[in-house]
Structures are given as structure tokens and as C-alpha cells.
């Protein structure tokens, strides 16, 4: 049992490193071995957790604490897996449509999942001042891996892969604004249930609330009590 767990983490580590390096042997591996889906699930889950951790200012501002905070991170990891499942399906459809290649959905999903590897560093988005910039760098890195895996899977060349991902992006937007709306509503409801907050307070709201006359006078009155 312990040996299996240790082996799993070894594969997970290698999967992350190879994906970060855009190493084709990682793509070969996940295409060849269907059971590599567990490694890919691990990568996507960690990316989801790290990304929310990087953007956890929204949790803190809404005063989500303790167990709910950690539960929110886990739920975001799971939501990430579902989101990339859908994203993988869309890329699969777009790729099949564009290139007429006979690939399986499973291998496409696993390859697309590898593209989330850079987001494991999403925790660094927390860094003041340069965090948002780092977040953009990670997204570009992830995008480059995605282009690379599509190129690899469909043997399409860079521009073909770019077209495929672009088409996928359009499809994703179309679906999100049509049949995807009820699904998004369910997702938001789950999110609210988990965090126990409507999650609508932003840093800007706090600023406005406390810098208005009402907020400031409360501060002053408080001092005189």
C-alpha cells in the first residue's frame, strides 16, 4: 500500500516536471497508459487548490476561515477537474472536426490535464505587487503546453493547434452562455454552500464602505466610547 502511494507521488512529480518542460515523453506516457489518468487528476487537483490559494484574498475578505477555508480549496480542486474534463471534451471535438484524426477522448483529456501543471505555482499569485503578473506568466505557460499537446496529438503544427484551441475557446464561451448557464448556477450554489458566504465582498467594497462618511464616523465614534 505504502509502496503504491510512494509510486503514485513519484509519477505525479515526474508528470509535473515533464509537463513543465513541455517534454513529449510525458505526452507519450499519458497516451499509452490510460491509468495515468490518476496522475493527471492529481495535477489538475493541485493546480485548482494552488490557484484558489493564490486568489484566496477573496476568501479572506469574505471572512471564510478555518475548516471552510480548507474545504473551499478542496472543492476548487474538484471543480478544476470537472472544468478540465469539459475543456478536454471541447478540444477533442474541435480537433476531430479540424483534423479528422482518430484519437480517443481519454487520451485527449489526459493531455489537456497536463497543461495545468504550471498552475501548481498559482500560490505565488498571493505575492504583493508582482503576483498578478506571475499569474499571467503561469497562464501563458499553461497555454503553451496546451498548444504543444494539441500539436503532438493531432500532428497539426503550431498554427493548426492554435486554430484548434481558438475554436475550442469559442465553443466554450458559446456553451457557457447557453446550455452551460444552469450548470454554472449549480456550481455557484455549491460554492456558496461550501464557503458559507455570498463571496461578493471585494477589496474595493471595503474601501468604499470605510472611506464614506458613515464608515469614518463610526471609526471616530468608536474612539470616543
Amino acid at each position: 500500500m505504502l509502496e503504491n502511494i510512494s509510486l503514485y507521488f513519484e509519477y505525479l512529480w515526474k508528470g509535473i516536471i515533464y509537463a513543465l518542460q513541455l517534454n513529449p515523453s510525458a505526452y507519450e506516457f499519458v497516451i499509452t497508459y490510460p491509468q495515468s489518468k490518476w496522475v493527471v487528476f492529481g495535477i489538475i487537483f493541485l493546480a485548482g487548490v494552488a490557484t484558489l490559494l493564490g486568489q484566496s484574498v477573496v476568501l479572506f475578505l469574505n471572512r471564510v476561515r478555518g475548516g471552510r477555508f480548507f474545504f473551499s480549496l478542496v472543492v476548487n480542486g474538484l471543480m478544476f477537474i470537472i472544468s478540465y474534463f469539459v475543456w478536454g471534451a471541447i478540444i477533442y471535438i474541435a480537433g476531430r472536426f479540424l483534423f479528422q484524426e482518430n484519437v480517443t477522448f481519454g487520451s485527449m483529456f489526459r493531455l489537456v490535464g497536463l497543461s495545468t501543471a504550471p498552475l501548481i505555482f498559482g500560490f505565488f499569485i498571493l505575492i504583493p505587487w508582482m503576483g498578478p503578473f506571475l499569474g499571467k506568466v503561469l497562464n501563458v505557460w499553461s497555454f503553451l503546453i496546451l498548444i504543444n499537446v494539441v500539436q503532438f496529438q493531432f500532428e497539426s503544427g503550431f498554427w493548426g493547434a492554435l486554430l484548434c484551441v481558438g475554436l475550442g475557446w469559442l465553443l466554450m464561451n458559446l456553451l457557457s452562455n447557453t446550455i452551460g448557464k444552469p450548470i454554472i448556477a449549480v456550481r455557484n450554489r455549491i460554492w456558496r454552500r461550501v464557503t458559507g458566504s455570498s463571496m461578493d465582498a471585494t477589496a474595493q467594497d471595503i474601501l468604499i464602505q470605510f472611506s464614506t462618511d458613515k464608515g469614518a464616523s463610526t471609526m471616530v465614534e468608536g474612539g470616543k466610547q
Partner: protein, 371 residues
């Protein structure tokens, strides 16, 4: 091996930076920002406050990134602060605010790693240039960026404003008196001063900021401040970094709070001379004499004179020293911004005779108030 060590050090630095906002965010998430609770004084404090007569104005000093707590700041600043109190008769100088903690909790106070910080403080007392002392600077510079970050600033600056307000009350400030508040921010304290103004500006009476070599961002506090004076030295590249790091200070963004405040004449940028940020010839140096100064003053004395001059001109300092003792500094606010990363000895740039200020500084009554 060396590559791995460098990579490890970079990752450690990134991790430390990523953890920097958590202190203020946890404070907020824990309900610590409830204004009524945070700004409430104890009975003892209220009794003490009632016994203190009103000052003409209240000047809060926010130290630079070398500060360990509200009462432990770099040695060079103490003679300067003593001089400040002497130069500003009628004013109340408050120095016990630690601007790098939303709860005014110094690093050596009640904290998880306070023991470590105490050791570092001891080392610094023995050797001010100790490498370990840089850890304090690094920790505090992260807090400076937390204050300047639009995601965290509203929370961080609220905490500092609350503690600043408490500090004012402890020292006899009564909001109904409408007495002017001046925040003197040195280096990182300059940014935190303008950040806290966002909230403090709602108090009656004018609020001013004097930044001494401050690394200022394009904080939303510029919308609220009555006036800001930024004093800088030509051999101080650190203060110029604010104009490089923060895009809102670039001229290509005219709608940013900084650029709007500049356009509205709320900011005066004043060159003091060949001052450096640290070491010999810094803003607080009370020993080293200025080159070519008619009165043979030290660097620190000229900084004090300039502050006194600003406050006299602003009619904040009601009992000014004779003006003959005060040099008028060069006002270069019409030059938009100090040149970024300007270094070197600018002795030749010093005026041989006082130069009149080129812009009209608003009096408290004329100053715009945005609330």
C-alpha cells in the same frame, strides 16, 4: 549544486513574499477590523486623554523599513525625532506607531517568532550593518507592497488607519477640535502614510503627508489627502523606484490617483540636495555637514528646517521659528517627477540663494476635500 541553491533561495523568497499579506488578511477575516471595537479606548486611556491639552497639530511619524517595533527604530532616527519635537513647538509628535503591522504589534512583541526577532534586534544593536538586519528590511518591504497592492491595500491601510487613530487619541487628539494631522512617512512609511489617509481623511480637519525619501505608489489615498510633500535627495535611487515600479505613476496613465493629484496641485516634489537613502548624508544624518550650505547645517538639520518651513507656510505651525533660520527648498513639482534612478553627487544643483516655490500651496481652508 549552486543552481539548486539559487533556485531554493528564490523559491524561499517567493514563498516569504506570498505569505506577507496573510497577517493583515487574517486580521480582517478574524473580524479584527470592526472599527468600533478597534478604535475603542480603555477607561484609563480616556482619562489620560482628557488631561492632555489640545496641540496646534498632530504629527505622526511612520518609520522606514528598518523599524522592528513602534519603539525600536534604527539608531540614526532618534536624534532626528528629538530635533523634530524641538523644531515644532505647539505640535504633538507621535512616534509609537509601527507601520508594518495592522495591529501595531512590533516584531519583538507578542508573535510566534518574536524570539527570533529579538535576537536579530540584539545583533543589529551590536552591528547596525549586520546581514541579519536585512531580514527586518525584507519583511517590512513586503508589507510596503501589501499596502500598495490594490487587492490588499484596502485592508492593510484600514488597520494602520485604526492604529494611527488610536495613537492620536492616546496623545490627546479630539476629533471635534478639527486640528490638522500631519503624517511624516520616511521611506516605506511614506507609502503607508498615504495609504492610511484613505480612511483618516474623513476626520474633521485637514490631513497632510510629508514623505521623506518615500517609495510612493499611485495609492487611492491621493484622492483624499489635502496635500503631500515629497522630499528627496539626488543621491537617493530608492525613493525613485516608486515612479518605476508603480504603473499608475507613469505619465501614460493620466487618470491614476497620483497623476490626478499631480495635475490638481496636491503634490509638491522638493529636492533637498545630494542626500542618500542610507549611510552618510541621509535625511536624518545630524553629523555630516552639507556641502556649500551657508549655515553649515547637517543633512538632518536641513530636513528638519524644510519640514518646519512647509508647516509654517501651510499655517499649521503656529509658533514658527524665525524664518531666517529656515532655508526655502527648491520646488521642482513642475518637473512632473524626479528622474528615475538619479544617482550621484548633485552638489552643483544646490541653490546658492533661496528659490521661491513655483506652485501655490493651498491653505487648509482652500484645500480640496473629497468627502
Amino acid at each position: 549544486m549552486i543552481t539548486l541553491l539559487i533556485l531554493g533561495a528564490v523559491l524561499l523568497l517567493f514563498a516569504a513574499a506570498a505569505l506577507a499579506p496573510l497577517e493583515s488578511l487574517s486580521w480582517w477575516a478574524g473580524g479584527g477590523a470592526t472599527p468600533v471595537e478597534k478604535a475603542t479606548l480603555t477607561e484609563e486611556e480616556i482619562a489620560k486623554e482628557a488631561a492632555i491639552p489640545d496641540a496646534d497639530f498632530y504629527l505622526l511619524y511612520l518609520s522606514g523599513i528598518g523599524a522592528i517595533s513602534g519603539t525600536s527604530i534604527p539608531d540614526e532616527e532618534y536624534p532626528f525625532l528629538e530635533g523634530l519635537a524641538k523644531k515644532l513647538p505647539g505640535g504633538k509628535v507621535i512616534t509609537d506607531i509601527y507601520p508594518y503591522s495592522v495591529t501595531n504589534n512590533g516584531l519583538t512583541s507578542n508573535r510566534m517568532f518574536s524570539g527570533v526577532w529579538r535576537q536579530i534586534e540584539k545583533m543589529r544593536l551590536k552591528n547596525p550593518n549586520s546581514v541579519m538586519a536585512l531580514i527586518v528590511n525584507l519583511r517590512n518591504v513586503f508589507q510596503l507592497f501589501v499596502s500598495a497592492d490594490r487587492r490588499y491595500g484596502p485592508v492593510y491601510n484600514l488597520g494602520i488607519a485604526n492604529e494611527t487613530y488610536r495613537g492620536l487619541l492616546r496623545n490627546g487628539y479630539r476629533p471635534e477640535s478639527g486640528r490638522p494631522i500631519v503624517i511624516l512617512g520616511w521611506s516605506g512609511g511614506g507609502q503607508i502614510a498615504i495609504g492610511s489617509v484613505t480612511y483618516l481623511a474623513a476626520l474633521p480637519g485637514p490631513i497632510y503627508v510629508i514623505s521623506v525619501g518615500g517609495m510612493l505608489s499611485d495609492d487611492v489615498g491621493f484622492d483624499k489627502v489635502d496635500h503631500l510633500w515629497h522630499l528627496y535627495g539626488t543621491a537617493d535611487p530608492v525613493q525613485a523606484l516608486g515612479g518605476v515600479f508603480f504603473a499608475g505613476r507613469w505619465p501614460i496613465l493620466p487618470q491614476s490617483p497620483w497623476n490626478e493629484a499631480m495635475a490638481n496641485g496636491k503634490i509638491d516634489i522638493m529636492c533637498l540636495g545630494p542626500y542618500s537613502h542610507n549611510g552618510k548624508g541621509n535625511y536624518f544624518d545630524m553629523n555630516e555637514k552639507l556641502p556649500n550650505d551657508k549655515r553649515q547645517r547637517s543633512y538632518g538639520e536641513k530636513t528638519l528646517d524644510t519640514i518646519a518651513y512647509i508647516l509654517t507656510q501651510q499655517d499649521v505651525l503656529k509658533q514658527p521659528l524665525p524664518l531666517s533660520n529656515v532655508d526655502k527648498p527648491v520646488d521642482v513639482s513642475h518637473f512632473i517627477d524626479p528622474p528615475p534612478l538619479l544617482v550621484g553627487n548633485a552638489t552643483d544643483d544646490l541653490p546658492s540663494a533661496p528659490v521661491e516655490a513655483s506652485t501655490t500651496v493651498p491653505t487648509p481652508g482652500e484645500a480640496d476635500r473629497d468627502n
